[in-house]
């Protein structure tokens, strides 16, 4: 028997953030696509119904929640005492390792990429992309919230982001960009979940359960 050790990979707050992000993103996708192409709820009297209103409230709530989660993760990336450093996002700059991983993923080679970083190089690239998507969808989302709620913080943010709104071609352009990025999330999730399953099977380190328990099973080096 080789010496297999449990290694703490993800601290509690990272796991909490991850699964909160999953719940938020799925809710945002469903409510968002309803807002884009709504279905008519025909029966009943108008004053008794508030379907679109409620769905927009849910979308805005989870949008604000996602913004909060992103800020929290960024804070951890900068200041956390445990392992959550933003420098992990630069794992792809180790080009040798990047090529090793590409060859390994394309099933061309059996050499695994190094475990030196929290993320694999491709994973780091994908998360860089995801962070860009998140920033853009939050920015466009906040502009639209600013147009919807004319009070307090959202009003201030809306005014503050006005130049961005105009550069994007007004609210219509903002909304179009928001919609396009929503598809970026769908593609990310497809690849991300598949890779999590694949790595779970191939590495046998318990990758998927690690996002729940926080621990991977890793052979002593």
């Amino acid at each position: 028997m080789p010496d297999i050790k449990m290694k703490k990979e993800w601290w509690l707050s990272i796991r909490l953030i991850h699964w909160s992000v999953v719940i938020s993103v799925f809710t945002l996708l469903i409510s968002g696509f309803y807002i884009a192409t709504p279905i008519t709820f025909g029966s009943g009297a108008t004053p008794d119904k508030f379907y679109m209103g409620n769905i927009r409230s849910i979308h805005t709530f989870f949008g604000a929640f996602l913004t909060f989660l992103m800020l929290w993760r960024a804070y951890l990336g900068l200041f956390a005492k445990f392992h959550a450093r933003w420098t992990d996002l630069l794992a792809w700059t180790d080009l040798d390792n990047l090529i090793t991983q590409i060859r390994f993923y394309l099933l061309l080679s059996e050499k695994k990429p190094s475990h030196r970083y929290q993320y694999g190089p491709l994973q780091a690239l994908a998360y860089n992309g995801l962070i860009f998507l998140q920033i853009m969808i939050i920015l466009t989302g906040l502009i639209m919230v600013g147009a919807n709620i004319h009070a307090g913080l959202s009003l201030w943010l809306g005014n503050f982001l006005k130049p961005v709104e105009i550069a994007m071609g007004g609210l219509a352009g903002v909304r179009m960009i928001h919609h396009i990025i929503a598809w970026g999330f769908i593609l990310f999730i497809m690849v991300h979940v598949y890779m999590a399953v694949w790595i779970d099977i191939v590495y046998k380190e318990g990758t998927i359960s690690s996002m729940i328990s926080g621990r991977v099973f890793r052979k002593a080096e």
Binding site: T40, Y51, G170
Partner: protein
Amino acid sequence: MNRDFKKRDRELEERISRDYQRMVKECDLHLDLMERELPPPIEPLVEQLESSGISRRSFMKWSAATTAALMLPPIFKSRVARAAEQFGRVPVVWLHFAECTGCSEALLRTSYPNIDDLILETLSLEYHETLMAAAGYQAEENLEKALHDFPGKFICVIEGALPTGLNGKYLTLGAKGRTGMEIAREVTSKAAAVICIGSCSSFGNVQAAKPNPTDAKGISDALGIQTVNIPGCPPNPINFIGTILHYLMFGALPPLDSLGRPIWAYGKRIHDYCERRPHYDAGEFVEEWGDSGAQKGWCLYKMGCKGPYTYANCAKVRFNDGVSWPIMGGHGCMGCVEPNFWDTMAPLEKPIAEKTFGGGEKTVDDIGKILAGVTAAGIATHGTVSYIKRHNQKDFAKPEDEV
């Protein structure tokens, strides 16, 4: 505690009434100044109203409505009326560039003139290409005379975009064949203020829509100057009249938003003042022209209404003496007051998500589905190959102890 609030309330009230009094004083002073300095209107408004059989009472009602539209307190009602009577004192040079003259038509020509129209009738047009009798060199002389007689005093109203391609050669005007760019640069440099009427002069409109072969631009973009923009295709006359009234009353143009539009008219979103909004929030949408939802006045979002992206007061002041406005009439808003609306608001009778890209028939959702399909196929292939490899080469990708 309670007393504190009362005290604060009283202080606030006092401050507001002080501010109002100051505004009223400034307004009266400025109206006096205007009456002293500018020539009286050629066709006084009172006579115009009388000859059209419009009573003083209707005129006072109009003043009250306009005061409210301008977001001024009721104390200004009589001042708005007075300013409207002085409307004809402001010398105006009206230029036409790349446009259809629809704005002039909408503003100046109606079969049943209402008060807005009559006020516009009194406008002291020193130069207006469509309306003036002069032609050729004589017309050019009129323009030069106006610039000479009222330097820095006249208001330059511009209708139409400026084609900037080929050094402006796509648009040449008049007997001397000068380009629109040259004329605009000369006249605007001598004007007290430049008011762009309609979406063409404000933002370029259809001439500037993709692919924009003449490189047409709105005046402010083309010349790099600050203009007051009254967009709309055509704009509501009251937004133009109100802006001039503000100028007459306070000697300054009204506060503008970051696109140069007066905030009193373009500060609120159509969607937030729309009478169909309760149906939007309820989830009741017209699905097809003339369906039962349309008969019940449901929301036009799915028929392409762009009210959610559009800032204008159409829902509040409406058109033609407040009779109706597009959404009340049963068609969605097209967003005609926003920059580049032909491109950003397309398709006009479908929600924005149905916009097609690259000249093809594909919407974002179609493209997204194709990409998702390709991704799924890639995943399936990768998964299958991994599975086969794993079975053929016993040792592939397994921890070494199992080899």
